[in-house]
Structure formats: C-alpha cells, structure tokens
Amino acid sequence: MIPESAAWVVLGLPLASFLLIALVIRPFFNRYARWAGYVSIAAIAGSFILSLWSLSSTTGLYKALGWPSHSWVKAGPLDFQVGILMDGLTAIMMVVVSGVSLLIQIYSQGYMHGDRGYARYFAYMSLFTASMLGLVMSSNILMMYMFWELVGLCSYLLIGFWFHRPAAAAAAKKAFVVTRLGDFGFLLAILYLFSHQGLFAEKGLNSLLISDILAAAQGGLLGATAVTWLGIGIFAGAAGKSAQFPLHVWLPDAMEGPTPVSALIHAATMVAAGVFLVARMFPLFEETSAVLKLVALVGGGTAVMAATMGMVMFDIKRVIAYSTISQLGYMMLAIGVGAPVVAIFHLFNHAFFKALLFLGAGSVNHATGTFDMRYMGGLRRSMPLTYLTFLLAALSLAGIFPLSGFWSKDEVLAVALGRGGVVGTLVFVLAVAGVFMTAFYIFRALFMTFEGNFRGGVAAEQAGHPLLQAEVLSPQPASHPPGSASSSAERHVHLAESPLVMVLPMVVLAGLGVVSGFIANSPVALRNVPGHWVSRLLSPSFALAEIEKVPFNWPVALGSTALALAGIGLAYLMYGVRRLEPQRVVRRVGPVYRTIYHKYYIDDLYEGVVIRNLLYRGVCGVLDWFDRAVVDGIAEVVGWFGRNVGKAIARLQTGQVQAYGIGMSAGVAAIVLAYLLWGGG
C-alpha cells in the first residue's frame, strides 16, 4: 500500500526538477543544457514508478484510499485544505500523465536537439507535468483550480515557446484567452460553493472539498437549480480546456509550439484536464439530467464538426489536432450519456495513440522540414519505423480490431445507443458519422504523407511552388523532382529515419496503443487481468451503484468496423491509388468544401463579428465615447475650476509682507472672536 508521502513525492519530483532547471541549470550551467533533459526525465521516471505503485494500491482496494486533507489556510469560517484524493480515477490519470510525459521527454531530447531554449523547454515540460499531476491528485476544488490555471499557464508558455515567431506568440495568447473564457465559468462555480460554506458547515462538510461537494449534491443539500448552474459552470471550464464547441478554436492554432508539446497537450495534459474534471464531478452532473444532455450534445456535435474539418486540412498537425477535438467530443459524449468509465477508458487509449501520431508527425517534420502534407509523400520507404508506428496509431484511431481504439470507441457507441431517447439516438448517429470521418481523415493524412512520390518537402514549400489552397495534388512538382532540392534547403530536407532516441518512444507507444484497449478493459477475463478491469477500478470513483460493464455489442462493433473500413477505402481511392481525383470531388461539393475549409467561418465570426464589431466598435466604442465625453469632461471641468479659482486667489498675493501680516492677524482675530462668542462652553 502506497503511503501518502510517496504520493506527494509524485507531485514534488517534477516540481523539483522544474526549480532545479529554472533556477540552477539554465542561469548558471546553460552550457550543460543536456543535463536539463536528464534531470527532467529522471524526475518524471520517478513519478511514473510511484504512479504505478498508486495504481496497484488502488487496484487492490477498488476504492479511494481515504487520506485526510491538511489545513493550509484557516481564516474565519474559511478552511482551505489541501490533500490527495487517491482513487482509481486519480491513479490511472497519474499513470497516463507521467507515462506519456516520460516518453515524450525522451523523444524531445532528439527533437529539440540544438535548440537555444533547450533548458527552458525542459523546465516548462517539468512544470507542465507537475501541474497536471497536481490537478488529477487534488482533493480540494480550489487546489485543483490552482493547478488548472498552472496547466493553462504552462501551455501558454510552451505554445509560445518560439515566441520570436509572431504566429506562435499569437497562438499562445489565443489559447490563453479562449480557455480563460471557460475558466470563468469554473471560477464562478467555485465562488458559488465558497459563498455557501455556511450551508455546508451545518452538516459538518467543507464546501471546497471535492468529496464533500459531491456528497452535498447527492444528498440534496444543494437545490436542483444550484446543481444545474454549478454543472454548467464546471462544464464551461471543461469545454474551454478540452476544446469543445464553441471554445475549440484555440487548439488547432496551438500547433505553433514544438511538436512534442503538441503531443503532451493533446494526449495527457491540457485537454485531458477538461474531461477529467467533468468525470471527477460526475456524481454532481448525474443529479442534473439537463446538463448531462448538454454535455452529450456538445460532445457529439464537436466530434462530428471537428472530424469534418480534419478531412480538409493540409497541415498534418492540424489534421491530428482536429482529430483530438473530435475524440474529446467522444469522451464528453460518453460522460453525457452517463458512462464516465467509458470516457476515461477512451481517454486512456487515446493518450497513447494520439501522442504517437504527434510524435510521428514530428518525426516526419524532422526529415522533411515541413508540416504541409502537399509537400510530403513517399516517406514510407525512407522512414519505415515512423511509417509502421503511424500506421498502427492510425488504425487504432480509426477503431480497427483488435487495436485499442476499437475497444473504447465501440463502448462509446454502445453506451450512446443504450442510452436511448431523443438525445441518445441523436448523439449515436453523430458518433457513427464521426467513425467514418475519423477513418477517412487519418488515412488521408497517412496516404498523403507516406505513399506516392516525395514532393520536395520544405524546399518546394519555400520555393513557393504553386500548390494552390484547394485540393491540387499533382503527383510530382515538375520543377522540383525528388532529390534535386536546392542546396539552400538541403539542411532541412534529410530523408532518413529519425534518431533512435525519437523512434524508441514511438515504438513503445505503438506497443501500448496496440494492447492497452484489450488488456485494460477486456470483455473476458485474461490470465492475470480480470475482465472489465478499468470498469472495476473506476466505478467507485463515480459513485456508481454497480460496476459499469459495457457488454460487447456485436452489431455496433461490426457496423462501426465496416464504416471505418469504408472510410479507409475512400481515402485509399482518393489519395492512395488516385482513382477518384480529389479535385473533382471538391468541385462537386464546392460550397460545402469551402465552408469546412474555412473552419465553418467560426474564426472569422469570432474575430470579425464578435471582436472587431461587437467588442471594438460596440463595447469599446461606447467606452471610448464615455471616456472622452464623461470622464474627460469631468476632468476638464475640474481643471477649468482649479485654473480660474487659482487665478482669482493669486491676485491676493501682493508680495507685501505687511499685507500678509494684516491678513494673518485678521484671521487670528476672527478665530478669537468666534471662540469668545460661541466657544469655550
């Protein structure tokens, strides 16, 4: 059984690594920046091992370990306690966060090699990991909020890591501001709880402790309306972090950061926080069916919308980014239909194959120097390991038997179907549509990147080869036949497999991606792992009456596999063997394509209508008028008054000392007279 101190060490190790790198290595020993990587990796490896210990401890119990929280701040009625809520949900998240982070940091050593900010990078990555670990371990909602904001801060720092590029700086700012909109809802929910601590105190509860909040929600201590608003506020925060519609716009732009950062953000840290939060507060959501329906519909809608956008992007990282939004939609959908176990199971599998997809994209970028798939192609031969791992991840994402994505995605579909009703049916249809699109977009990316002939990489891109915005895909740019890249770009295009330090984590992730789904939540008992292991582990965390076992649903499994295969087949026809010319397909559905290609004009709506017209011209216009007319007006009047009164009084100043003497004596006389007449009582 893991002691509580060991759990604090899990949090402390990456934090210590951050402090060591930021305060010692970077300022004083920047010549030995390589050590920053070693320190960070060692710390997170330690965290990972202790996380595994936590997981085995909670597995033995199948319930929370029940550590007490410690008082940190006591002021009047406020009692702010910090502690670790160690249950199955926490433990499995800890393992995912530290494990994926560990592999990504190993990979980063190769990817970030020679970068001037190498030490800074590992400092941020350590802090990022520490924040996310703190977030999942918090027993207090305010403590969780602190780590929640730290995660937001770290993602800001890492997305804007190459801050000298304007696009990166803008993307970092966008991510920070957009998620902040959602966080505002979360903060309001916390403030509501805080303001009602008297209500909790009567029952001997603490209004900020997560377990007490859930108990109060279930015990009817909070009214139905209050629970609904709390749910909406918390979901707003989760939607911002997990990039759900309408706050999804920051995630695709977050691609401006280094690729391993994207992998970490998309797999284990930033975006997982939203899903985790909703799952953690699930007993509260369960009390309010309206909010759960909202969660399901937002999730389902986001899943399909993001998938359609993923189908038309040319930037490989953007394709994967939209895929993340879509998959997060699936997780939200699962929670919305009342199956948080399935959501976390999907999160667990998704973490491995999504991290792998990003690492694959980074590996491809390492070789070609570009992220634009129109300038890739044919990489299968030069990068066999990257190709193989990317293929496994893509199959897993598409949900092909027996890879991990198959198991969790089918559970999502099965619970949506089982939920029934209008909402359940609707989200089931959305989810099924998403399955087809998912398979299509990821295999479109795979074929464009790895099949066909090489199309020049960054050399062709910099030469401004006329590949138009639309689906123009000449198999081979005439002016840039492969192998004759201009000498200036030879440094960038280097068609070879990435170094071992990058490939090894990918292979490990691929292995995990293959087996994680089946072993973790197998429908049947395996030799050492009981059937439905994740369900057994997680069900107590959600206060479910019984262990949530989703039975294997043959029609759903066969149907979804058929759909996924159809998606892969279509991608093969269009981009593999080019039977269907993509250009002709695009022309056939012109307006639809344009709408999707412009991301449903949502960015334009936000920036053009909301920010430029509503905010700049509307709100700021009124404020500007108010400032000029009222505030400046008052200041003008005060100034005029002072100036003129001053002028009038200045006449009294003659410079004649004797006149001053007369004035002073008159004043003294007046005071004495007044004292004699009215005072002195």
Binding site: Q653, T654, G655, Q656, V657, Q658, Y660, G661, I662, S665
Partner: protein, 118 residues
C-alpha cells in the same frame, strides 16, 4: 495699588502699539522696532502671569496650607530671558537682511519689496 490687571493692560497696549508699527510703517528699521516692542509686551505679560497665577498642578499644595510653592517658580522669568535672547538674535538677523536689501535696492521702504510675489 498696581495689580495683575494693570500689567496685562500695559502688555496689551504695548503689543497693540508694536503691532500697529510693524504693519503700518514703511521703514524696515521701524518695522523691526515694532516687532521688538511686541516681544517686550509679551515679556511683561509672561512675567506678570508667573507672578500672579498658580499652575493648576500645584493648586493642591496651596490648599493644604503648605509653603506657597509659586513663590519659588521662575518659569515666566526664564521664558522672558529666552524671549530676550531670541529677540536679540532675530534683530541681528533682521538688520542683516535689511542691510543686504539696502545694498541691492538702495531703499529700506518695505512697500517696495515684493520679492515673495515672485
């Protein structure tokens, strides 16, 4: 018999004369003389008060029939000596200023001096 009121009246008349002189005369020397008169008016009042009035804190010792303590109190007289010393210093300073101004302006008419306006 000359009593407390007479001293105070003398002090008041002297103060008034000095005050009038200080504020109304044009000659800076005369103004300084007026100020000296005011100082001395105060000296008269201070010594008279010390002679005739009992500090509140000592009232008890008189009521109990002991030796009248105030006969030995010289507070007012000490004050008067201080005032004389200060007045001497002040006159020295004042005459110095008057001399300096006279050198610059060739006049000691205070109505011509409007330096505090600048």
């Amino acid at each position: 018999m000359v009593g407390f009121q007479h001293y105070l009246a003398l002090s008041g008349i002297l103060f008034g004369l000095g005050f009038y002189t200080a504020l109304s005369k044009r000659n800076a020397i005369v103004v300084l003389m007026g100020i000296e008169v005011m100082f001395n008016a105060v000296n008269v009042a201070v010594v008279a008060i010390a002679k005739y009035l009992l500090p509140f804190s000592l009232a008890g010792s008189v009521a109990s029939g002991g030796e009248p303590a105030y006969q030995f109190l010289l507070t007012g007289q000490v004050f008067a000596i201080f005032v004389i010393a200060v007045a001497a210093a002040e006159v020295a300073l004042g005459l110095g200023i008057v001399l300096a101004i006279y050198r610059a302006r060739e006049t000691v008419d205070v109505s011509q001096f409007t330096l505090m306006k600048e």
